[in-house]
């Protein structure tokens, strides 16, 4: 078993830290020699090219790449060594948009969003806008990382935040292999803390959902079956409740791409994704109803495009120039990583789409 790295690709000065290098890999080799079709050509077969942005439903804001964990498959290349953090000024620009957007969901992500020094202020202000669904993607261990975070469950409750947390498996071995030693035990404690104040309990309005992504070079199974297995195991072993499980496919970028190449699984994985291509999933991919805002305020079709530094194809590039009407109908920027969102039942930050 390979030992989990403790530094980001950026800190290690890996060639794969550069988005340009990742995009080269995704466009060359099996996609250049015609072994596999490019995503653009694949969706053109069913007249779905170009993909167009529909009405905005989800505004996803990445408040920084700093994280207390260094997960093996992180598409953000997040970690304690990342310094990219959203400033209060950019947050204020985001708040102007949040107040006026027609989007029903606000989705805060990172890194560990809670590590942004202005996180609590931002949540307090954003919650005043009355967005229907206010998500914070919490890695759970942050709640147990330092006493200054111990009250996060109460803070989330106070602002009616919908907590969405990663949990790659219901066993310690598989979870710690992907997310680091001790992550499983801390995650269980954090889930118990959240349950104790009502999060995830049956009939509770305090939403607690888990995100499952595979621990290796394979695709997720059926989301409904996985949810059943997670619920059974977490209840029997730890008495834990949660609402829904979102099954997410690992996209071949950043640290997961690094893992695929190092483990000599890259080509087989791309074959798996292309073999499992589902045109029905294309119609509902998240980039068509989501907008991703980076820590420095730039706009992307999704969090993955943000990490690949593929900005929106629009005159509007930055949150300070935000214009929902101008952004609607834009052509979505695609590459071969997009196969990750169209495999099988599809994949998005809200789970399957088909």
């Amino acid at each position: 078993m390979t030992k989990l790295k403790t530094q980001s690709l950026h800190k290690r000065e890996s060639a794969l830290a550069q988005s340009k290098r990742q995009l080269e890999i995704l466009s060359n080799g099996i996609f250049q020699n015609g072994e596999l079709p490019k995503f653009k050509d694949k969706i053109a077969e069913t007249n779905q090219f170009p993909l167009k942005a529909k009405k905005l439903e989800i505004l996803q804001i990445n408040v920084g790449y700093m994280c207390n964990q260094v997960c093996e498959h992180c598409h953000v290349d997040a970690g304690p060594d990342r310094q990219e953090i959203m400033t209060k000024e950019t947050m204020k620009q985001c708040l102007e948009v949040i107040k006026n957007t027609g989007a029903h969901t606000l989705d805060l992500t990172g890194g560990a969003p809670e590590m942004n020094p202005n996180f609590r202020w931002f949540v307090e202000e954003a919650s005043k806008a009355g967005v229907q669904d206010f998500i914070v993607r919490s890695n759970l261990t942050i709640i147990k990382a330092n006493k200054k975070y111990y009250d996060l469950p109460e803070f989330f409750k106070k602002h009616n935040v919908h907590v969405v947390s990663s949990m790659p498996h219901w066993t310690k071995g598989k979870t710690d292999k992907q997310r680091g030693d001790g992550v499983f035990d801390k995650s269980i404690q954090a889930l118990q803390d959240l349950n104790a104040i009502g999060y995830g309990m049956p009939d509770s309005s305090l939403r607690l959902d888990l995100v499952y992504n595979p621990s290796g070079a394979f695709l997720p199974s059926d989301q409904v079956s996985m949810e059943k297995d997670f619920k059974k195991a977490l209840m029997e072993d730890f008495g834990i409740h949660f609402h829904n499980l979102f099954a997410i496919t690992n996209l071949p970028i950043s640290r997961f791409l690094d893992y695929l190449i190092a483990s000599e699984n890259y080509e087989d994985y791309m074959y798996q994704l292309v073999d499992a291509y589902n045109p029905a999933a294309v119609a509902n991919v998240m980039c068509t109803n989501t907008l991703s805002v980076s820590w420095d305020g730039y706009l992307y079709d999704c969090d993955f495009n943000q990490m690949l530094e593929l900005p929106v194809n629009s005159k509007v590039k930055h949150i300070s120039d935000y214009n929902e009407e101008l952004l609607e109908g834009r052509n979505i920027v695609i590459s071969q990583h997009c196969y990750g969102c169209t495999a099988g039942a599809g994949s998005s930050c809200q789970g399957t789409v088909a």
Partner: protein, 111 residues
């Protein structure tokens, strides 16, 4: 002449067997799909049975397919190995239980 009897890429071509007998091929794959649906046994349990059987019949394609299927379903390596030991126990037991026949014969001829 091929240097090996098995090529992993052939697994993806399994469906091609219908090309030479469409009716029976279709019936087989319909049956196959139905067998693995959730029923009195869960799809997860069926996957583990398939993995154990795959090792019993020593089918490289099946081992490849049901190891991957198990991982996708969240089946742990400990569960997989236990399933294999069930296969091994039955297979070993099948040899050893015939020892009774041997003992009967020895006892009759030389007891």
């Amino acid at each position: 002449m091929f240097k090996t009897y098995y090529d992993p890429k052939d697994l993806k071509k399994f469906g091609n067997i219908s090309e030479w007998n469409e009716e029976l091929g279709a019936k087989f794959f319909d049956y196959y799909a139905k067998v693995f649906e959730e029923g009195a046994l869960s799809a997860r349990e069926k996957s583990l049975i398939a993995l154990a059987v795959a090792h019993t019949i020593q089918c490289p394609y099946c081992i490849d397919a049901y190891t991957g299927d198990g991982l996708q379903r969240g089946i742990t390596k400990e569960e997989m190995m236990e399933a294999l030991h069930v296969a091994g126990a039955i297979r070993g037991g099948a040899s050893l239980v015939h020892g009774v026949q041997m003992m009967n014969k020895v006892n009759k001829l030389d007891g």
